[in-house]
Amino acid sequence: MSDQPVIELKNLHKRFEQRPDLAQRLLAMVGKPIGLDTVHAVNGVDLTISRGQVVGLVGESGCGKSTLGRMVAGLIRPTEGTVSYQGRNAADLGGADRLAYILGVQMIFQDPQASLNPRQRLHQILGESLRVHKLAPKSEIGARVDQALAEVGLGSEYRERFPYQISGGQRQRIGIARALMVQPSFLVCDEPVAALDVSIQAQVINLFMDLRDRHGFTYLFISHDLGVVRHISDRVAIMYLGRIVEESSAEEIFARANHPYTQALLAEMPDVNKRGRKFTPIKGEIPSPLAPPSGCTFHPRCPHAMPRCREVVPPLIEIAPGHKSACHLNTP
């Protein structure tokens, strides 16, 4: 594993703004102030992913992890900040370089049912990217489809099937095979096993690890499931309301979690090795990203909150070699 970064995110922001309706546009025209809701989905994220690494991105619903993943894959543009692919700003890439980026970084979605066209046969779904980008002559597409199917453990008899004729686990395999068609080097996986049964989940996780061993893929693995992330990640980043609150090697974060939110997540993780636990849950709800709390966004739920936490956003600082955390407790 080299340290060459494949993807580098610098001060990345994504804001979703409500579009003004007619009345609001009229008010704006006569110079009246209008209050538009803005969701700051990703709020200043720096993250470096090196070649061959598996980075697990963990967070609860609404924390911005999927938005971040989509920006990395180039599906949506950041409002502010840059995504660099192999050292170059993705926004400045053009022509062949841009194509190399969008093909090199492929995305695998949570819901394979929704991401596969129900009216296409599997070989059409898989072959489409080759046809669109003219990556292979027509005569070779069939062979490439079979090869991708074999890669994810499906036989060529699946070529002629429709998505509804296969099971959920197989559909996720097709989602992976489709990403493999264009020979990517980086896979953004957005909750790829969340919708699968445990026994099928294990099969798909094993497939991800086999692919890494075979092709040396780099992964951004987005999940809310710490158990899965712990299993396959080299590094782990924990997100809460648009910010990364802790980042470190997987081993370190599960052994010595620093941020109170990470500690809470670890405590709440259902675990077959814990029996008849007396639950001691963290209090409160996840705040709405429309109105995030001031200062450290975790302070309303944090057992250690101090006055400073309400006012100042704690910076993400290195607390040990390769271990970053954003908590005021580290800087007394």
Partner: protein, 327 residues
Amino acid sequence: MNEKEILLDVRGLVTAFHTEQGAWPAVDGVDFVVRRGEILGLVGESGSGKSVTGFSLIGLIDAPGEVVAGQVLFDGVDLRTLDEEQLRQLRGERIAMIFQDPLMTLNPVLRVREQMTEAIFTHHPEISRQDATRRCVEALTMVGIPSPEKRLDSYPHEFSGGMRQRVAIAIAMLNRPELIIADEPTTALDVTIQGQILYQMQELCRAHDTAMIWITHDLGVVAELADRVAVMYAGRIVETGPVEQILSAPRHPYTQGLLQSMPATSEPGARLSQIDGMAPSLSGREAGCTFRPRCPHARPECAAAPPPNTVEADRSYRCYFPLQEAA
């Protein structure tokens, strides 16, 4: 704890779905007991029949499904012999149900107050409006909803997902039921919210000696919450017993396979041991042991007939060649 009285005794329950090709049993001969104040984790993957089992208990199976055989003895009375009116009296009063999606349970156009008091007045028309409101506030407080008096006048869409599920739980608890059937109530929630709700359910069941059937696919949740566990596969309970015994030393290869598939049970980065293949569809189940095609220990004998239920002290399993504890 084994001295406690048996509250629910299910014997030979069969629920079939009628199709043009014939009747397929989604639940195929299920037996289990739940004692007072006990939490039973009913675990299985999609299509194993765990939810259908829960629905069958209180007569919530609609056509083309039908409970075709078995007894559901609740406090000594077979619920299958009751008519719809008697069942209606029982549901929401002595047996309550919590569903996975609280939006399905809650009426979107009624305030929480109306939905809660309705549950009280249906069973206790003699209660005054004031007392009913007081009970609603108590129930909402119990499940940890802040400023319950104010929230009574909110509509379901004004609550977050976790809060909505709490309202659904509060409604289920209103009449102090003796049994709660909970169908994956935390599956759609975030881990920290799931933790809060598990905590409250555990507390509530202990405080009121309420028995609960917790239907889930997550063995991790069962390990932490339940007293006993029943593992379902393809319509049958393949193994049941105290959580500690079943999870530490499974006898059935499917239970062991499920446990070993969980990332938590293996070294990070190591290959997960997987159960090959997939669960059979309703129409594609094998004769004999339904797990045979996926079982690493299958032998020709397994194909002959479904394995009988073998009882061993506190636990039981359906396997001809049960796993032995590692010596």
